[in-house]
Subunit: 239 residues, 2 copies
């Protein structure tokens, strides 16, 4: 079975083509992401729940700092949405890829295999099982995925490790994306089936994991520096 | 010219063998590292210099926090040694490798080319210019190298970004080492010329960049959490 990927001489024995259309694959991803983001946005903002006795215990533990009941800022609520979205993407989508070397032979139309068959049109190294790509995706799925969900929880609870955790994951995402782009560039950037897939999948889809982690890293860096400046002032006062 | 690397079918046209012996190469690296570490250790501890007028201005700027003249702790002095050593290694050794695709053809006995010809006995992907290895070494040389030297300076000056900077570089080193080991493992771990080179170069030499960054990351994580706990206590007092 001939495959639609580039370079044309890539050998994919027993390849089975996509059974879902591009629009179906994107719609499922878009809709489920929208549901997740909406849920996190609503739950993180629903403070009136706290007046209902049934929810008090659960919510006190889930989204409030012990001893106080400060509202979560809008920015922090957006960040909770981001961390939940990116965490589930890392665990479910990238986790499936990292541990399914033969997804391109999948005949059942299983959604996660369909996603990677489709994405491989933008970067055939996924179907070809390039070791650099698999290493980065493995690290992302195993470490960054669960830690992203922990970040959502850390923001909600106002944990002292919240910023350093967000910084660590963002830096990991940036490092992974850097390895991903540099290796493709060094091999001649020849892995997209067409200019359309190159820009839509390889450039635009990945750019979110460049721009957002960069912004989060800068914010966390500043917050952490401020905390140490405050600590320094306190020490100087004691002197 | 037949090369000494594994796998035997690796094609290295115009390969020129090492002209320096293993002991010479290691001795130069060991001695120059020893000189660098000793210098940093001595300078960071020589507080009596501050009583000599000639050194006051230079030293006030280089190693003291403005307005105070606190002694640098022994642990911080060791860390300054580590960051200078690892920074120079990243910039000089790994920087040369990242931007010298044809080092294995070098005829002049140039020291940096000799180092990589020798190290390739532990991991031939260096001579073979594996894109994953080059990407990781490039990121290490360009970003982590200069930032490591900045970390030495930041510790000396007691900068507020000192811990987050050390954390960021250490995490980058760990990520790079993870990609480095995972990709070799996935390709069958077949790149060492013998068990001796495998353990001496590939395992033991690299293990320093696993153990030390791990310890530094944990320390920085704790320091940063403490700073936020202090900030939290302060805020609660204000309430």
């Amino acid at each position: 079975m001939a495959h639609p990927y580039m370079p044309r001489d890539l050998n994919l024995l027993d390849y089975v083509p996509n059974s879902l259309s591009q629009s179906t694959i994107l719609a499922v991803f878009g809709l489920s992401s929208f549901v997740v983001v909406s849920l996190i946005w609503l739950i993180s903002g629903l403070y009136f729940f706290l007046s209902l006795p049934l929810f008090v215990i659960l919510f006190k533990w889930l989204i409030s700092v012990p001893g106080r009941c400060a509202k979560i800022s809008k920015l922090d609520r957006w960040l909770m949405c981001w961390w939940t979205f990116t965490g589930l993407t890392h665990i479910i989508l990238e986790g499936y890829f990292a541990f399914s070397p033969e997804f391109y032979k999948e005949k059942t139309g299983f959604y996660l295999a369909e996603v990677w068959k489709e994405y491989s049109k933008g970067d055939s190294r996924y179907a070809a099982r390039d070791v650099g790509v698999v290493a980065v995706e493995g690290i992302t799925a195993v470490f960054e995925g669960p830690l992203s969900l922990l970040a959502t929880f850390a923001i909600a609870k106002g944990k002292s490790y919240s910023y350093i955790l967000q910084f660590a994951i963002s830096l990991g995402q940036l490092y992974g994306t850097a390895v991903y782009f540099i290796t493709a560039y060094m091999e001649g950037d020849k892995f997209a089936a067409s200019a359309y897939y190159y820009y839509a999948y390889y450039v635009i889809a990945n750019s979110f994991w460049v721009v957002i982690p960069t912004l989060i890293s800068i914010r966390c860096w500043k917050k952490i520096c401020s905390a140490f400046q405050l600590q320094g002032q306190k020490k100087n006062k004691v002197r």
